[in-house]
């Protein structure tokens, strides 16, 4: 039997995290991809290397990845699959547990390693521990952490596309609006370099001081919860236990103390740099390179050093 992977998309583009879910699922069997949205989304799914078949749930009921109709579609398709997989993003976490309940299955969220068809490793307690769990359910429903699996190449496949129908049911929820933050920068989850700011940035105006550094490094910009709560940046910048989980080549934490909830989202980065005026800040315990001092002095110095190095 095959594995069903729900690929979520934003503005018609399949998220890179979903391509990581394809990689994870290939370890379990042949991959069939479920998508919603325009025909162009299904066509993009069909080109992903490793996707053997695309199932497209079209029409109003499947639009906007609403949980109620999508979970019903997944439950309908489930008999043909051993595993149902999605990336651990907002959409997968919204839809998959609901589908699991319809199937009387306990889902396994945030898988970072697949041991075999029944055994999975997942972080608990904000990543303070790694649990290996064995599922006794006949079918497994899991979301996987994109930072733990390389994305499947966007090109290389030529899978056939089939339409699937959304089961009839009352429209329980309705889409009203969406407000996506606009940015020219790379997505946090796929960026090679991330520059992140915390409460130490002081205000929205000063937070922009991270832009010149991010420009020079081609970096995405992230933030701690404190910076988001204080309104320096929108919610989707948040890195951590309850924000985005990232693992770039280089993570630069500026004015972030390093609470475990923040570390949960970035401690698997390859190289971590911390800039903080408090030498006792816990962020230094995970940093490869620490620079102690006032960030408002240090940021221009780092930019100058980068310019000099060319």
């Amino acid at each position: 039997m095959a594995v069903l992977v729900f690929l979520d998309h934003e503005s018609g583009i399949i998220r890179q995290a979903s391509r990581s879910a394809v990689t994870a699922a290939r370890a379990l069997g042949e991959v069939h991809a479920l998508v919603t949205g325009d025909a162009s989304v299904a066509e993009a799914a069909a080109r992903i290397d490793g996707v053997a078949k695309v199932l497209r749930a079209a029409g109003a009921a499947a639009a906007h990845e609403l949980a109620e109709p999508l979970a019903a579609v997944i439950a309908d398709l489930a008999p043909a699959y051993t595993h149902i997989v999605a990336a651990s993003g907002a959409s997968g976490k919204n839809v998959l547990p609901r589908a699991a309940a319809l199937l009387d299955v306990q889902p396994i969220p945030d898988v970072v390693s697949i041991v075999d068809a029944d055994n999975f490793v997942r972080p608990i307690y904000a990543g303070s521990a790694l649990a290996t769990v064995r599922s006794s359910d006949a079918k497994k429903v899991l979301t996987v952490r994109a930072s733990s699996f390389d994305p499947a190449p966007a090109e290389g496949g030529a899978a056939p596309i089939e339409q699937v129908t959304v089961p009839d049911g009352p429209a329980l929820s309705a889409f009203v609006s969406i407000a996506l933050s606009q940015s020219e920068r790379p997505e946090l989850e796929s960026a090679r370099v991330i520059v992140s700011g915390g409460r130490g940035m002081q205000n929205e105006e000063n937070f922009k001081l991270l832009n010149p550094l991010a420009d020079r490094l081609g970096a995405a910009i992230g933030a701690s919860r404190a910076a988001v709560d204080a309104g320096f940046v929108p919610n989707d910048y948040q890195v951590g236990q309850t924000g985005k989980i990232v693992a770039p080549e280089l993570y630069i934490a500026v004015g972030i103390s390093g609470a475990i909830q923040h570390l949960a989202g970035m401690k698997d980065s390859k190289i971590i740099v911390a800039i903080n005026k408090d030498p006792e800040a816990p962020i230094f315990q995970v940093a490869d390179y620490g620079l102690v001092g006032d960030l408002f002095d240090i940021l221009p110095q780092v930019e100058a050093a980068l310019d000099k190095a060319g």
Partner: protein, 249 residues
């Protein structure tokens, strides 16, 4: 309308959990326990709905050991009217909790169940969605804003790219995200008053729910530790090391 708020007793978020030496789990003996932070936010929101005259009764529910009574008392000190403890020594998984809650919904007929988005011990982020699925109700997860009017809830949700707004037909399930509100501290008089509020205890079996876990914990381990880093003296030194030593820029 009636609001049901499930609250979980977890290791306090300020405490760094320690993995047990035998690798069977995380040490909880003698560790400070508190209400799951997201559930505090859910309780706060329910109490505010009552203060606005939208909710008529707020019922807090916890599935867990006897000491989860303390968590329920905290919810009542914040303003919940009464509480139900579903007493069990089993660490019930989201599927089991959702089944228990489904049975309680049948008894209590709430118009809204307000949960936290995630319990910070198991980090499942599943119970609300599963309850919604079992009940066939609308769901609004990761809510940062809720408005209730004309038999509908308008919910703004925190999603990967920003914010999304949905309307849900009531009865519905909403799960609270961090920015929904800032929970109040219970005042001493309210803590005293909460001691007298009704707290009912029942067993999962009374509700006809089998809570046997589907997931077996094979092992629990510390994540690999990072190598000790170094303190650099200057920005120029940092840039040179990132380039020549770490080779990431």
């Amino acid at each position: 309308m009636k609001v049901l708020v499930p609250v979980k007793r977890v290791i306090d978020f300020n405490i760094k959990p320690r993995v047990k030496a035998d690798g069977t789990g995380v040490e909880t003996a003698g560790v400070k326990m508190s209400m799951n932070p997201f559930d505090e936010i859910a309780v706060e929101e329910a109490v505010r709905l009552k203060e606005k005259g939208i909710a008529t009764e707020v019922v807090a529910v916890s599935v867990g050991v006897q000491q989860a009574q303390d968590t329920l008392r905290t919810a009542m000190a914040m303003g919940a009217d009464r509480a139900i403890l579903v007493l069990t020594d089993v660490a019930v998984e989201p599927l089991g909790v959702a089944k228990i809650l489904r049975a309680l919904v049948a008894k209590e007929s709430p118009d809204l169940v307000l949960l936290g988005k995630q319990a910070i011990d198991d980090d499942m982020n599943a119970t609300g969605q599963m309850l919604a699925g079992l009940l066939g109700w609308a769901q609004g997860t990761f809510a940062s804003r809720i408005e209730i009017a004309d038999g509908k809830a308008t919910v703004t949700r925190e999603i990967d790219g920003g914010l999304e707004t949905l309307t849900l037909t009531l009865p519905a399930i909403v799960t609270a995200d961090l920015r929904l509100n800032e929970p109040r501290y219970a005042s001493l008089p309210n803590i005293m008053k909460a001691r007298k509020k009704p707290l009912e205890t029942i067993a999962p079996a009374d509700l006809g729910v089998d809570v046997t876990p589907r997931l077996t914990i094979v092992s629990v381990a510390e994540p690999p530790a990072r190598q000790q880093g170094i303190t650099v003296e200057s920005a120029a030194d940092l840039v040179a090391r990132l380039r020549n030593e770490a080779k990431v820029i």
